[in-house]
Point group: C2
Chain length 234, copies 2
């Protein structure tokens, strides 16, 4: 009976319930109103996401209020570096995102689909925090590539008439944007807070907020101390 908000994405989604994570913060924010359901897959790109989407979101499921689609950080891994097996070419990324959106639109016509671009990349930090050894001495991801994929994600949102969070651009508007990242790629606590705020602001514009959603069952503030059970009569 509680409506759901799905979070579909890669490691930046899968890790979003860690300490201070944006997903956990959303769940806390909507604690009495909506279930925030984690569907994050570390390392996944849009190509792999499309291989599992039918199983992750089977046709029988109820339509959620919203779903965030947050891929691109792995698609943008450079093809000739040590995370190259995660790379997806830019035009295929766009095509795959369109297919993900089409899947959700067909399945859940009333659900708000929210695209989130990959965050920027701190090239130097990627050398300090590599996933594996870097024999070439070059980063696996670059900000230049991340920004290209982010731009493509925005184009998909515009083509589909969907709201989007241009995380790559918005984060870089802060002078100390690199502090929003923990390893040049994933979100720091500060970055998680940034994403949380962007998501609740966008949800509010889509009429999904503490003001519009009903809370389930009487809040303590609504319970009459002199006759508590009156609140539970219905």
């Amino acid at each position: 009976m509680r409506p759901k908000i799905y979070l579909f994405g890669d490691s930046i989604t899968e890790g979003s319930f860690s300490n201070g994570g944006w997903g956990a913060s959303l769940a806390h924010h909507f604690a009495r109103m909506a279930d925030v359901v984690l569907r994050g897959y570390i390392g996944y790109n849009t190509r792999w996401a499309l291989k599992v989407i039918h199983k992750v979101f089977p046709a029988a499921g109820d339509a959620p209020l919203a779903v965030t689609v947050f891929f691109g950080a792995n698609d943008a891994a450079l093809p000739d570096r040590d995370s190259g097996f995660q790379h997806v070419p830019l035009d295929e990324y766009k095509h795959n995102l369109l297919a993900i959106v089409a899947y959700f639109k067909k399945q859940w016509p009333s659900t708000r689909i929210i695209l989130i671009t990959p965050p920027p990349v701190d090239d130097n930090a990627r050398l300090l925090y590599p996933f594996v050894e870097k024999p070439l001495g070059l980063p696996d991801r670059t900000n230049e590539a991340a920004c290209q994929y982010a731009k493509q994600c925005l184009d998909v949102a515009a083509e589909c008439g969907l709201p989007a969070i241009h995380l790559c651009e918005k984060m870089q508007q802060l002078p100390d944007w690199k502090s929003l990242l923990s390893d040049g790629l994933h979100l720091s606590q500060k970055g998680n807070k940034f994403v949380f705020e962007e998501v609740i602001n966008l949800l509010a514009k889509e009429q999904i907020s503490l003001e519009t959603l009903p809370a389930d069952f009487p809040l303590i503030s609504e319970i009459d101390p002199n006759d508590p059970l009156k609140s539970f009569a219905n």
Copy 2:
């Protein structure tokens, strides 16, 4: 298709997805295996919980892997103090807990029902962090009362043959147990970590762990960098 773990309780449950909360930590722990679903109700006692349980967990719902039942902190509010409207007498508390357990057992015979006792209370801190003014200069809750309710919760677990976490006792085994509380009643970050660890340890004893649950869809560590799509063939 993902199994669920429900968290049913009062504010110590409703707040469990805040920064470093035990619920969010559980969701992070089981990120690819189970959905941790929040059903916490600030201020609720077992009397009020029984008024809503049929709506919170309707008969049509799938059986979860486990449900935590974590009430007592409000039942144990002293009747003649300023949170007295939340008080439930000790024998009714026991009766109500038995009814909650009976409801879950009938609904979901295979689900692990896990009772968690209320935590201890730091009487002095309750005076420093009152919910409302304290004209009497006396705390709304005391450790003596909390321990009585915790004991009753343990008795219910024993009578029903259920696993339980004697949080009240376990926390007080630490010399600095008061640091596990933020306001003499609710959990600090350290207290949240304590509860998280108790819960995953108990779940593991009940065969619910990272070792026993299947992860949905290939983990990045299982994907062959030379032929990633092979992992998605089935």
